[in-house]
């Protein structure tokens, strides 16, 4: 293939140059008007390709419910239970335990029950629970975090009798009410 413009570079050389972030700077390519036009075209068709997939998605926003249903039937079979945590029992012949997964679910439910709060991840280690939460924009963050801490502490105590030393709440996200399918 002949070189582009006054250079010896091919279309593929220019594509490689673009892929390298135009570094190190090639003065010959940067000074050649035709190379510049080709580089602009390459960038344009690349970004149009990404736009095209985004548009395809926007034009078909609905997932088939039977497709969704069969996906969830499979996923529900693979419960992430985690390890068992022993609970105290008054009967010496009985041993009770609860899975980490069940504790996480309890913690999530307790935190979500606080107005304007969505619980993110829940970390359990020994007798410490670390929770990250997102707070609805406009709701006082400290009050929400404290309400979550109390709800989690009391629900864990009530349902599991686990001796929890501390419940740490980190607010690492803020959300607004969803415009689509939201409960606004």
């Amino acid at each position: 293939m002949d070189g582009i413009g006054g250079t010896t570079y091919t279309l593929d050389d220019l594509s490689d140059y673009l892929d390298s972030g135009r570094l190190p700077v090639n003065a010959e390519i940067e000074a050649d008007a035709e190379c510049q036009a080709v580089l602009a075209s390459l960038e344009r068709v690349g970004s149009l390709s990404r736009e095209l997939v985004a548009r395809d998605a926007d034009e078909n926003p609905t997932l088939d419910e039977s497709w969704f249903g069969s996906l969830f039937a499979t996923i529900a079979l693979e419960v992430k239970a985690g390890k068992d945590i022993p609970l105290s029992s008054s009967d010496p012949h009985t041993s009770l335990s609860i899975t980490e997964g069940a504790i996480r679910e309890l913690v999530r439910a307790a935190g979500d029950s606080v107005d304007g709060v969505l619980v993110g991840s829940v970390r359990l280690s020994e007798s410490v629970v670390d929770i990250s939460i997102s707070v609805l924009l406009g709701i006082p963050v400290t009050g929400a975090a404290e309400a979550v801490r109390q709800a989690v502490y009391s629900d864990l105590f009530k349902h599991t009798e686990l001796a929890i030393d501390s419940v740490n709440v980190t607010v690492d996200d803020v959300h607004v009410i969803a415009t689509e399918g939201g409960t606004a």
Binding site: V45, L48, D173, H175
Partner: protein, 181 residues
């Protein structure tokens, strides 16, 4: 039930990694259409796309604890889905040589194509008319953002073959999109 539609990707990914299937469901509803669109462009088939997106999401659910950056969950899902898509492509392609030959035959001039009404429609037509092997490489590189080596590994060919396919795809796309500058 709690409304998860307002939650960020990072929050949903964190919950899903903890085993919350509803949070995973919210991610699927949010990003499923994009994953399907990506897989459709890649496989060239809406039915195959539905299958590979489903396979990819099931695999993703099992590996959520390996997700490094929860905020980048869409890109992470797209990577898993694209791998399922290339697995499917490899399983249905008996020979890459045949495909390369077919590639030469089907290169057509822009005048043979119906006039598109927008540059996105034009690009859509150009990509659809590319030989499968060229289109797959193009989509993996430009939309997936993968390197020649990664694409080669996924498609089970050498990087030189990928380079050749992309060179032909690029020449066609650039020539046919010239009118839309």
């Amino acid at each position: 039930m709690i409304d998860l539609a307002a939650a960020s990707d990072a929050l949903l990914a964190g919950r899903a990694a903890d085993g919350d299937a509803n949070a995973f469901g919210a991610l699927v509803r949010r990003h499923g259409p994009y994953l399907r669109a990506f897989a459709t462009r890649l496989t060239g088939s809406a039915a195959d796309a539905d299958d590979v997106v489903q396979e990819g999401l099931i695999a993703a659910w099992d590996q959520l604890d390996t997700l490094g950056e929860p905020g980048k969950v869409r890109a992470w899902l797209a990577t898993i889905v694209s791998r399922k898509a290339t697995d499917r492509i490899r399983s249905r392609k008996p020979s890459s040589e045949l495909d390369e030959e077919r590639a030469e035959d089907s290169e057509r001039g822009p005048e043979q194509r119906a006039i598109a009404t927008s540059q996105l429609d034009a690009l859509s037509d150009v990509l659809s008319a590319l030989p499968d092997a060229q289109r797959q490489c193009w989509v993996l590189k430009e939309v997936g953002g993968y390197s020649y080596e990664e694409i080669a590994e996924r498609l089970g060919v050498t990087p030189v073959v990928v380079r050749g396919r992309l060179a032909r795809a690029r020449a066609t796309v650039i020539a046919e999109m010239e009118a839309w500058r």
